[in-house]
């Protein structure tokens, strides 16, 4: 056992940290996603940090997943606008790298690695949420094309916005064999959101950013844009699920650490009844609880990255840390609100708002955010029961088959 980082890993951490120190963010468009900045994104690409896990032949660095966890954690800790890292690099990049044809890989991976393209997963449907295997969207082969029809939910980023200075690449799942049972007969297509026939209905979230309900009417996609084999999309998605979660997790771990540092500083510097808040026993217990959650999430996050680097089944641990982390986000923001007390409700435009209102903002923006990535804690617990403990299936364990 050895829980430390090697020199090269520590160096990467230092480099990312010092790069972020001057906050070289450029223009941030928070109405699209909580912290979205194509220009900063390209800067990361220039430094090679978007290509850490990818093959050198596409411009990547062929590093094991621990490296990307480190850079993601540091970006999160610095509060860098990198929400776009998550869908692009994590999910779509890995889907392409692990399941795509050589043609698809050499077409998209270099652009993803350089930060020239923004990608997003388009999976959820009105009747396919936690039970994603129920996807109904149809893709029918006609000559050299697939014709796509149906509806998607929570398809973030894909609305045609003049503001975007970066093209949007979608990885979309649709049914290619209508007679197949749920979780089977599904395929993934990779194409850009400029394809004719896509209509978006913008959905406002509880926070400042937006997502979309999207309608696809006779959208034509060249057959070369099928990712991997027809009808094998589900297995491909499942194989990449750990990547999908863990990389986003490392970034949000950094976010948690950032929030923690802010709150610790605040309770040390803020007086109440002549004493610093940090001397209040109830507040001390809350701060300690935060430190405990943070350390547990950090160890398990890196354990997953390490397991992936060794080719072990990391899914069994990833689902566990996902539950702890998802719920820790809620607990954290809640404790922070409780520590601030009455003035904690004030938003950033009030001169009385403690910490410029970031805590109440985080309670709305971040507390629930994790739940919506790949299933909430209830679905996770059902999955743990079947996958880790061998109990009767109630969730997507039913459709598993291709998971190694």
């Amino acid at each position: 056992m050895e829980f430390g980082f090697n020199e090269e890993q520590q160096r990467l951490r230092e480099e990312v940290r010092s790069f972020c120190k001057s906050k070289p963010w450029g223009e941030v468009m928070s109405e699209i996603a909580p912290g979205y900045s194509p220009s900063f994104y390209r800067k990361l690409g220039e430094r090679g940090w978007l290509g850490l896990p990818y093959d050198k032949k596409y411009g990547g660095q062929s590093k094991d997943p621990i490296y990307e966890a480190i850079s993601s954690e540091e970006l999160g800790r610095a509060g860098a606008p990198v929400s776009s890292l998550y869908p692009t690099n994590t999910l779509v990049g890995e889907l392409i790298a692990n399941c795509g044809s050589e043609e698809i890989k050499s077409r998209y991976l270099p652009r993803i690695i350089r930060g020239e393209i923004q990608a997003t997963g388009v999976f959820t449907e009105p009747e396919a949420g936690s039970d994603l295997g129920q996807i109904q969207m149809r893709a029918v082969r006609e000559g050299d094309y697939y014709i796509i029809n149906g509806q998607k939910m929570f398809a973030s980023f894909i609305q045609p916005e003049p503001k975007y200075s970066i093209p949007i690449l979608m990885a979309l799942m649709a049914k290619t064999d209508p007679d197949a049972p749920p979780g089977k007969g599904l395929s993934i297509f990779v194409f850009e959101n400029t394809a004719p026939g896509i209509t978006c209905n913008v959905l406002n979230t509880m926070a400042t950013w937006k997502t979309n309900q999207a309608f696809f009417d006779d959208v034509k996609v060249p057959k070369e844009n099928l990712l991997g084999q027809e009808n094998q999309g589900w297995d491909c998605l499942m194989r990449n699920k750990v990547w999908y979660w863990n990389k986003g997790r490392a970034r949000r771990l950094g976010n948690l650490q950032r929030g923690f540092d802010i709150v610790v500083k605040y309770v040390k510097e803020t007086e109440s009844n002549g004493h610093p808040l940090s001397q209040d026993p109830l507040i001390r217990q809350k701060i300690a609880n935060m430190a405990i959650d943070l350390h547990a999430v950090r160890l398990l996050t890196y354990r997953v990255a390490w397991m992936q680097s060794k080719g072990l089944d990391a899914l069994s641990i990833e689902v566990i840390v996902k539950v702890i982390h998802d719920e820790a986000m809620l607990r954290f923001t809640n404790w922070a609100m409780q520590i601030l007390g009455l003035v904690g409700q004030l938003q950033d435009d009030s001169k009385y708002a403690p910490l410029k209102g970031v805590v109440q903002e985080a309670y709305i923006q971040n507390s629930l955010r994790n739940f919506y990535d790949g299933g909430g804690p209830c679905a996770m617990r059902s999955f743990i029961a079947s996958y880790n403990l061998g109990l009767p299936e109630n969730t997507w364990g039913k459709y598993l088959g291709g998971v190694e």
């Binding site: 405990i292 743990i384 079947s386 403990l389």
Partner: protein, 377 residues
């Protein structure tokens, strides 16, 4: 970075599990609750032969030269079996006290005998005021003709009734900073003026009240320097807390496995209750608590083994383990229902132990305050 056990650690774990399944079934655990000694000297000798007692002691003192982490792996199995033995008292509390502060002469005198099972040790720290903090040490060691005389009451001394030597934490200076007036002595349990009485506890383990009345102790039996004992004791308590976490994690794992078996086999409402999501989610919660507890414990043990700062990590691990073990017993009894409340079921053993272990060496509130001290003061 490497989160896996070494080959040797895996072998140790497997062989310990096999050995304890054979030698320490729960019938034996129950027998030992009633037994006066509270352990089997034959089994203790076998443990010595297996090299368990000297596992983490340096080879020059008759040990195997293993790391603290190795002992932690072994303790998971001991906790899983609820092995009734003076292992924790002798190897963890007693052994660590001598390793931490003992002179070379003291180490040579005690550690080889500890490793081969000839001597039982324990640590007497807690007093009736029941706080393991420097300020609450009142049992006094007074200078007398160049040596010392101890007077005071120690409580909750594990396996004190069979110990050959007791490391006693005493007050040697009342003025100034109280943490700088504590000294530790290795006291022969047969010394004059010592009265040892077993006390009954919720965990049904063997703990004792130890009275010292004008008990003489030689200056040569002082562990470390005069008035500098607390720093050593504090380190021992921290390391012992990690050892206890490992013990607890072993118990949590066993509780989870028992519950899982029950849920798969118990049919109600026409199906095994394991098919109900209400049951599944509780089992998932046990596993979530356990996996985090294990990695937190291993991290703290690794930091101790690697000579890195460990205070914060120890308190995080003990705060987590204290809650996850108790929580597992709560969830388990809920799932197993009335049968698990019957005395001849194994659950009461774990239910009792989980509560006792939660309290011992600091509960979650205590360790959260320790964490806060590290972060805020």
């Amino acid at each position: 970075m490497d989160f896996s056990l070494s080959e040797e650690q895996k072998m140790l774990k497997d062989s310990a599990r096999n050995f304890l399944e054979k030698e320490c079934p729960t019938t034996m655990v129950r027998e030992m609750v009633k037994d006066k000694k509270g352990y089997s000297p034959q089994l203790w000798q076998k443990m010595a032969e297996l090299g368990w007692l000297g596992l983490s002691l340096p080879t020059k003192y008759g040990g195997a030269g293993g790391s603290f982490l190795d002992s932690v792996i072994l303790l998971e199995e001991i906790g899983r079996a609820l092995l009734p033995s003076p292992f924790f008292a002798t190897v963890v509390l007693g052994g660590l006290s001598i390793l931490e502060a003992g002179s070379n002469e003291q180490k040579e005198r005690f550690l080889p005998k500890l490793a081969n099972g000839e001597v039982l040790l324990t640590l007497a720290i807690t007093e009736p005021n029941a706080r393991n903090e420097a300020d609450s040490i009142t049992a006094e060691a007074e200078v007398h003709d160049g040596d010392f005389i101890i007077n005071g009451v120690k409580l909750l001394v594990p396996y004190g009734h069979v110990a050959d030597h007791i490391t006693c934490v005493t007050r040697t200076k009342k003025e100034g900073k109280l943490s700088e007036g504590v000294s530790n002595f290795i006291v022969d349990a047969k010394s004059p003026g010592i009265t040892i009485t077993s006390v009954n506890t919720i965990g049904q383990d063997k703990q004792c009240e130890v009275l010292f009345k004008n008990t003489p102790v030689s200056r040569q039996d002082m562990l470390g320097e005069l008035n500098s004992g607390w720093a050593h004791t504090d380190n021992v308590l921290k390391k012992a807390a990690v050892a206890l976490c490992a013990h607890m994690n072993g118990g949590t794992e066993k509780v989870m496995e028992m519950t899982l078996e029950h849920a798969k086999n118990r049919v109600q409402f026409g199906q095994p209750i394991a098919s109900f999501q209400a049951i599944q989610h509780r089992l998932a919660d046990m596993l979530i608590g356990l996996e985090a507890s294990k990695v937190l414990t291993h991290d703290a043990a690794w930091k101790i083994s690697a000579g890195l700062p460990y205070r914060m990590e120890v308190s995080i691990a003990k705060a987590w383990a204290s809650e996850s073990y108790r929580q597992a017993t709560w969830l388990s009894t809920r799932i197993q229902g009335g049968v698990a409340y019957m005395e001849d079921h194994d659950m009461p053993l774990y239910y009792r132990w989980a509560k006792a272990a939660e309290i011992n060496l600091g509960d979650a509130d205590f360790h959260r305050e320790m964490i806060a001290m590290e972060l805020l003061d």
